[in-house]
Symmetry: C2
Subunit: 565 residues, 2 copies
């Protein structure tokens, strides 16, 4: 298959539409139509079910427009950029690294000068009009705006939902009664002002993310549910590039995955994706190479799926260490650490400075107490050349060592402050959406079936009268109303032959079709009408009493075997 | 009560947090915390249940960043603005109309010169530092950004979700098999770059909307479900200002509400809000005054709720006529109309131009057919001074009337193209969210209860061990796991006295609390353990078998009487 075929189906049947088509379109943006919007919601629902209900994590929802301070701390102001080059003639912009992708093994590691050098050397010109290219410039990929009138306060559209969780850490930590672990999820829009987006839904300017930030004790990366899945296996491509199938235990013992909690969430990602309908045979986990990984990350794995575009990242699962919270703590001066209470108070010895009050009194009079406090806040390591420098009211005092002494104190500590570490499974919703469709896509001759898992299907049941006459259509509408009232997404259709109607439902992934026929009307006189239920995947049909239909469909949705209904 | 008291509860308990507090905050933005995010989702779920499941409307999801063309057509480029004035000294910006609100009855109808005149006349100065104010300037309230590198393509954050529906009308119309009525819903972020936001969640820079666009035949504003609700009553404040309680029939017959479909959706809005927990006694519908209503609107009503801020709009329900589609059709040159098929083809007489082929042949040779076509495309009204001007290959030909004649033709028409009208119920989600909280807020002495409707409550059941010992806590955790597995949002708490735990749940609106006590353990030996269930609103308690608990809570959620469980 090719992506174009599937995208054309998606457009025709109302899954996704390229945005703003009536105005010539905007590259890198899609609308979710009626069926796509429902499929997207079903993906979010599964993710929530796994993390919120299953793991007990909490969910928040924060703004998409953020002030600059957030991205100074997160590093996006400095790091979130690509190199752009414009054609001097047609003014079309291109990603510089894409233009030299055949000329260098890792073009995204090159800087502006190296990229330009390579282009000049190989006479690279505009791919559209073959004219000369201009200079290579760095382009920050955040959409910029300003908050309030006057352009004095810069704002940016968030490149990820994660920062909304980090900046709220103090609130979330209190909400969790100052305990770890603390798991927080957020889904919503992310933005990346791509230079020249291609590849359908894979590289978007406005996209949807589902992010999970798990804050853990840095000294304890075990996970209570790990033992239950320790022998499950994963298809791994570690940084040495040699793909292998390992159990979680093997991966941990061999030092392939950094720690237990990370291993658990890699496994959870696998089950999550498979439940959504990603084909397990086209799913692997690839470890980031050292030069690919953010400098602060302790380990990072991408869930990659095989698509017509090639192997594509859909989820990243990283141990980000204390980077995010440390950065925000440093830039905001807010407390972001966790007070880790010891099981029993610990007695510790500490070398400290002790002010000589008798000497200080005559020298500083009413201020002596304050000066003593300033001395005792410091430690022996701050004394240099027999002098301790302290700041008081903006001025620097030089305190000679005749005014204090070095003593050993014994203290009882109830605990210590530690900076939590962050485990982050970050999901690209649009890419998962596209994968669910591509992995469900079956085409034989001119017949197309989307074999979506029933939980994912936008429509659970098509409801048809065999023909639109003789009261069949009234009865079918009653059945449709019954299912709808029971919260089962149904679609009523009386147009065209019954075969065409089945085909239309198969093409959008509807698992079951319900048909009202003459037998139904016949039986109805005896008050026990039945309808046929057709199963998409087996094409089998069964007769089911109308009154049992909601219960039957609900049990099928929960995984009951069609052959046994 | 005052809003501050409630907002403080909301912040303390994790409903909402002022955004970016660690960086000094950004006015007009809020984060939804764990409880707020759940409440918000519950509001969206009810709205969807009413419109998608109940009315059969379809849902879409479109981008928040839009190209300029969209807002040229919608009028937002020209109209979506306020007047701003800056203090010359402290540079603080203010809304000009707010500064003169005591000096004029309708300050928002004044232009820049009138506003400045009024300020000078009354020596209005900066409310913050009492210094002189600068000039009054128009400020467009859309957040502006640019799409792609180079700032050549302007983009704006959408001020409403509605435009995403209008620009997709051709797709949606085909999805609906080119039939009317067609109902489409969308929820998501909207943005308004307020000059100086105040009033908590009422006036936000980034907010959440739930919009409904119903496209109807302009000649048929009846509604099939109307008769069933015709005698229901509404509290109306028509444009004459005289509040009265009228049935829908009375409102229509008296010409108070413009048409049946609009009346139906006003009534539906009432039931929707009441189901969410808005107090019917603090809800009214106010008609827009002529000078308040958009020039194209045919009728417009605001659902207003009484809050501590005064009467506040939470939903607007308007008959927008053909404005939106006509505008986009004109600016995009795309077909946005509906082909309305007649029940039977209609025979009509039309006066037309008919080319004289015999005269054209010798004159135009091989082009004669084309010229004839160009003539017959036009009508008698295009003939002026005995000459018909037509454009051919970029040149204008003047065709003398000797080359054509005026004839009467009879045609059979299958139907006609009409521009659909739009009925729009547009919901301010954040305002509804705040209203649901304020109308549920009860405080007696120091005891606070949020009497949220169970369907709205973020947590449905608190689960406690009577004390955290003797195995009570293990059993309570089992009960918690049982409810969670059944999809009932539960919260486990063992900290503090049982009274404190009840109080904490009452304060966040949890309708029921389940307590495991010694009787539970006693009975468990006989395998039929019961727990106490306490009802928030009556404070009554009942014992329920653990095995029945999920079913009991689900039936309570559906409205069963606690006294009868």
């Amino acid at each position: 298959m090719n992506a174009g075929e599937l995208l054309s189906l998606c457009k025709r049947r109302g899954f996704i539409w390229p945005s703003f088509e009536i105005y010539g379109g905007v590259a890198g943006m899609y609308d979710f139509g009626p069926l796509g919007s429902a499929l997207k919601d079903n993906i979010v629902a599964v993710w929530r079910d796994v993390y919120k209900r299953g793991e007990g994590f909490v969910e928040i929802d924060s703004p998409t427009v953020n002030p600059e301070a957030v991205f100074r701390a997160s590093g996006h102001m400095d790091e979130f950029s690509d190199y752009v080059v414009h054609c001097k003639e047609c003014r079309e912009p291109f990603r510089a690294d894409h233009l030299v992708s055949d000329l260098h093994a890792n073009p995204d590691t090159l800087d502006a000068a190296a990229l330009k050098g390579l282009m000049v050397e190989h006479s690279v010109c505009c791919p559209d009009c073959q004219c000369e290219l201009g200079s290579v410039e760095e382009f920050n990929l955040m959409f910029k705006t300003s908050i309030g009138p006057g352009s004095n306060r810069a704002g940016y559209l968030r490149p990820e939902t994660a920062q909304g969780i980090f900046v709220n850490f103090p609130h979330l930590y209190r909400y969790n009664r100052e305990k770890l672990p603390l798991g927080v999820i957020q889904h919503g829009r992310g933005y990346r002002n791509e230079i020249s987006p291609r590849q359908g839904m894979i590289r978007l300017r406005e996209f949807n993310m589902m992010e999970v930030e798990l804050f853990v004790d840095p000294d304890d990366k075990s996970w209570p549910r790990f033992p239950a899945v320790a022998e499950e296996t994963l298809r791994l491509v570690p940084e040495d590039g040699a793909e292998r199938e390992l159990s979680l235990t093997q991966a941990l013992e061999g030092g392939v995955i950094a720690n237990e909690v990370l291993a658990y969430f890699i496994w959870l990602t696998k089950t999550l994706l498979e439940r959504m309908g990603v084909d397990g045979g086209r799913l692997r986990f690839r470890q980031h190479l050292k030069d690919e990984m953010a400098h602060y990350a302790m380990d990072c794995w991408d869930a990659e799926v095989l698509l017509s575009y090639g192997w594509t990242e859909v989820v990243g699962i990283a141990d980000r260490g204390c980077w995010d919270l440390s950065q925000h703590a440093a830039w905001s001066n807010e407390e972001m650490s966790h007070f880790k209470r010891y099981d029993e108070p610990r007695e510790v010895e500490r070398v400290a400075l002790k002010a000589k009050y008798r000497e200080l009194g005559p020298l500083f009079k009413g201020e002596a107490k304050e000066v003593a406090r300033l001395i005792e806040e410091r430690g022996p390591e701050d004394v240099s050349g027999g002098v301790l420098k302290v700041e008081k009211d903006g001025a620097e005092l030089e305190i000679p060592e005749t005014l204090f002494e070095t003593v050993t104190v014994r203290e009882k500590l109830a605990g210590e402050r530690v900076m939590p570490h962050v485990i982050e499974p970050s999901h690209g919703l649009d890419r998962i959406f596209y994968t669910v469709l591509e992995h469900a896509y079956r085409r034989e001759d001119d017949y197309t079936v989307l074999a979506l898992r029933p939980e994912m299907a936008p429509i659970k049941a098509g409801v048809f009268p065999l023909m639109a006459r003789d009261g069949l259509e009234e009865k079918a509408k009653e059945v449709f109303a019954l299912l709808t009232a029971e919260g089962i997404e149904a679609f009523y259709d009386e147009s065209g032959s019954i075969g065409k109607r089945y085909a239309r439902m198969d093409e959008v992934g509807t698992p079951w079709c319900v048909t009202v026929d003459y037998e139904t009307l016949e039986e109805e006189r005896g008050l026990k009408g039945t309808v046929t239920v057709r199963d998409r995947d087996s094409s089998e049909q069964r007769r089911v009493a109308i009154s049992d239909l909601p219960v039957t469909l609900k049990s099928l949705l929960k995984g009951a075997d069609f052959a046994k209904i």
